[in-house]
Structures are given as C-alpha cells and as structure tokens.
C-alpha cells in the first residue's frame, strides 16, 4: 500500500513528462512547417507583384532592358524552384534583381512621380519586409526545433515523434559574397 502511494505519483509524473516532451517536439515541427508555408505565401505575393512592376517601369525607363530581363528571369526561376535550398537561392537572386530595378528607377523622375509606381513601391517594400520576417521567423523556429532535437532529454523522443533537425533558410546573396576586401 505504502509503496503504491509512492510509485503511482512518480509514474504519473513520468507519463506527464513524456507526453509533454513528445508534444513539444511535435508542436515545434508543425510550427516549422507553418513558418515555411508563410515564406512561400510571401514569395508568391512578391512574384505576383512583379509583372505589374515591370510593365510600369517599362513605360518610363526604356533603356533598362537588361535590368528588366534580370528581374523577369529571376522571377521565372523563383516560381519554378522547389526544395528549401533552391527556393532560398532563387529568392536571394530575385531580391538582388529587384534592388537593382529600384535603384535604376531612381534616375527616372517621371517614373518616381507616377502614382502607379508609388503604390507599387509601398507594396514592394512591405512584401520585401514580409519575406524577410518570414525567413527570420522560420529560422528562429528551426533554431528551437534543432535545439530540442539535439539536446537531452528532449532528444530521447526524436525517434518516437518522427521529427528531425532541419536546414536553415539561407539566402545566397551575391551582393554579400562580393564584399570588397579592404587591404591596408
């Protein structure tokens, strides 16, 4: 009788702990899925904005064919990419191409003044921010997930919960890679 009084609560605590650890792993895994879906939603939004932007810029900046082509081809790559590494790489290229386009727009005062371009610019900056925040949120979630997967005691339940560590969403940014080496 006395032993039962000691063992039953201990068993109960053990069960609660197992359930909690298992559930938190599952929850983190679902959050990571949702976070990745959010990146895709925002990338889709951005891709949808581009044709309109390209048309608007074309009307004013007639001599910027190469910049426009870069955006169009980067968009095509981004919309067809699958798998986290490809999506991230294409996303990085499109971000750079769009930055180039907006920089070019700076030298066309008529374009900058047009109402259509102004509203597109706001749409584009909010979408760029949303893409960036979605990436950040995904990476933060993956960070917690990977931490739980790799550290004891939550690592004990990895097999049972069928979750595994995930890759970070790393944008290959050519602009960052070409940082000039400063030599003294």
């Amino acid at each position: 009788m006395k032993i039962a009084m000691l063992v039953i609560p201990l068993l109960l605590i053990l069960v609660i702990w197992v359930v909690y650890s298992y559930n938190s792993l599952i929850r983190l895994n679902i959050s990571a899925d949702e976070a990745f879906a959010q990146i895709e939603v925002q990338l889709k939004r951005r891709a949808d904005l581009i044709p309109n932007l390209v048309e608007t810029v074309k009307g004013y900046a007639t001599h910027e064919k190469s910049t426009l082509d870069a955006v169009i081809s980067a968009r095509a790559k981004a919309t067809s990419a699958t798998g986290i590494t490809d999506v991230a790489a294409a996303d990085g290229q499109l971000t750079t191409a769009l930055r180039g386009l907006l920089a070019v727009a700076e030298s066309y005062p008529d374009l900058k003044a047009s109402a259509n371009f102004l509203s597109l610019q706001e749409e584009l900056s909010t979408t760029e921010n949303k893409v960036a925040f979605a990436r950040q949120f995904y990476n933060d979630t993956v960070r917690s997930l990977n931490q739980a997967v790799k550290t004891f005691p939550s690592s004990l339940f990895v097999g049972m919960a069928k979750v595994s560590a995930r890759a970070f969403y790393e944008v290959e940014n050519p602009a960052d890679r070409n940082v000039p080496n400063v030599k003294f």
Partner: protein, 306 residues
C-alpha cells in the same frame, strides 16, 4: 550585466526574471499582511482574507476579461479596417509575420498627441490602437518599431500580468483598509480573541506592516509595469531586429510635449509613452522607465547586433 553585453535576448531574459521576482515579492507581501493581521487582531481575522481577495478578484478580473472593449471606450478608440489605412495594415502584417502572432484588431484614437497602446485579454482578443497624430509624424521604420512594441505586449501577455499585479495590490489595499478600520472601531470586540501573552513589539511591527503594505504594493505594481515596458522594447527588437526604428520613434515621442487628452489614471499604464509620468512625484511610482533610459538601451543594442 555590463552595458556592453546588452542584446535583446539577454534583455528579455533579465526582464522576465525580474517580473517573476517582483510578482513573488507581491505574494510575499500578501503573506506578510495576512500574518500581521493575525498577529494584531487575532485568528478571527482569517475570514477577512478570502473576502478581500474575492473583492479584488471581482473588481480587477472583470476589467481584465473585457479589457478590449473597456479600454476602447475609455480612450475613445475606433476600430478601423484595412481599407481605411492600408499602409498601416501592411506594417502590422509585417510585424505579425515576424512574431508569429495573428492579426489584431486595429483602432484609431483621434488625438493631437502621438501615442499608441495594446490591450485585450489574450492574443485572440488583442487590439492595438494609434493616435491620429502618431500616424502623421512617424516614418515607416519608426511606426514599425511602435507596432512591434505594442505587439510585444500582446505576445508577452502584459494585460494578464498587469491584471495579476492589480489584483494583488488591490487585495492588499482592501485588507489593510479593513484592518485599520477594525483597529479604530472594532478593537474592543476582538480583545478577548488576542493572545494575552502577545509580544508588544510584534504588535507594533504588525501595525506598521498594515499601514505601509498598500504603499509597498503600489511600488511593486509600478516596478512590474516598468519591467514589462522594458521587456516590450527588447521583444520589439527581437521581432524587427531593428533597434534604430523604435529608438527614433521614442526620440520623436520625447521631442513632442503634447499629452493625450484622456488622462485617466486607470489606463495610463497602457500607452507607449505614459501620459502621467511627466508630473509623477518620483520615478518609483511611474509606470514607465524614463524615455531617455529606454532610448539609451536601444542605442546600445544598435551597436551590439545579436
């Protein structure tokens, strides 16, 4: 913690720990008051404790549960839709994605002072409100910082934290008030109840505790509120990773001397810039840390990325 090691993660941890310590301090204070009451007036007073806590619970938890509609009425905030202010909604959606929170209701307060607040009992009932003036004077990054600060209050459940703080402070105030009345008017009837060999020194200490407890509770409540503001600043940086935006926003608030028209004490603590602290007697009673201090911490974070 040295100033050079400040980053938002450490700041969040330290502010959370301090809130926990302060709430524990509140609990200890309640215990102390109950103990003092029993020492001074005898065991029959134990009945008063649940009554006082009950009163405090009823008065505070009603306003907690209906905080969204109540605060909106008290501040005159009006709910707006996406069409009314698409650029503001763009910014709020950005912060929602960064924080993983769902889109709150958005409201506007028609007021010539720049300010903003968040309320609602949980993230599903959250409302964030902006005065008309703050939307006029702030640029994109500054407004994003303000929104991130307000969404941090939602994420950190600060309506709940302040409700807990207000309940305990309220219970202590009621208890100590009832006790002092009993000492003055009902002292005679309780005489027999009191231990005859009671130490007079203990009685004097108990009396002091009863008198000073409400002030101590108020100080603790203000300290909790200040810690939650600092935490919201740190969490805002965790969301946007852009301390400069919020820092410039706070500088703009500091530069502006107009104060929101609703100067009710009851809702003073919810604004991003307190409408009362300017005339506060002392820093100890103010609900917000001084703006200069908040600006300095954010400036420090700018030079310490991650």
């Amino acid at each position: 913690m040295t100033a050079s090691s400040l980053n938002f993660r450490k700041l969040q941890d330290s502010n959370r720990r301090k809130t926990f310590g302060l709430l524990a301090g509140m609990g200890a204070l309640v215990w102390l008051v109950v103990f003092a009451a029993m020492t001074y007036l005898g065991k029959s007073t134990t009945l008063i404790v649940p009554v006082a806590v009950g009163f405090a619970l009823i008065s505070v938890w009603g306003s907690y549960y209906f905080s969204d509609s109540l605060v909106m009425t008290m501040t005159g905030a009006k709910i707006i839709e996406r069409e009314d202010h698409p650029d503001l909604f763009n910014l709020i959606e950005e912060v929602c994605i960064a924080s993983g929170l769902r889109l709150p209701k958005v409201a506007i307060v028609n007021d010539p002072a720049p300010n903003a607040f968040a309320t609602g009992r949980n993230p599903d009932h959250a409302v964030i409100a902006f005065t008309t003036r703050i939307l006029e004077i702030m640029d994109r990054d500054e407004l994003q910082g303000v929104i991130a600060h307000e969404m941090s209050h939602v994420a950190n459940r600060d309506t709940l934290v302040s409700a807990v703080a207000a309940t305990t402070a309220g219970a202590i105030a009621i208890l100590s008030d009832m006790m002092t009345r009993m000492m003055i008017f009902g002292g005679m009837s309780d005489r027999d109840d009191r231990d005859n060999n009671q130490n007079p020194f203990a009685i004097v200490i108990s009396l002091l505790v009863l008198i000073l407890a409400p002030i101590a509770a108020l100080l603790l409540k203000s300290a909790i509120s200040r810690k939650r503001e600092s935490l919201a600043d740190a969490t805002a940086v965790a969301f946007t990773r852009n301390p400069a935006g919020l820092r410039r926003a706070l500088e703009a608030l500091a530069a502006d001397t107009t104060v929101v028209r609703q100067r009710s004490n009851a809702v003073a603590h919810i604004w991003i810039e307190s409408p009362l602290d300017g005339k506060s007697v002392s820093k100890l009673f103010s609900t917000h840390p001084p703006l200069e201090e908040r600006i300095a911490i954010l400036r420090n974070m700018e030079s310490n990325p991650l």
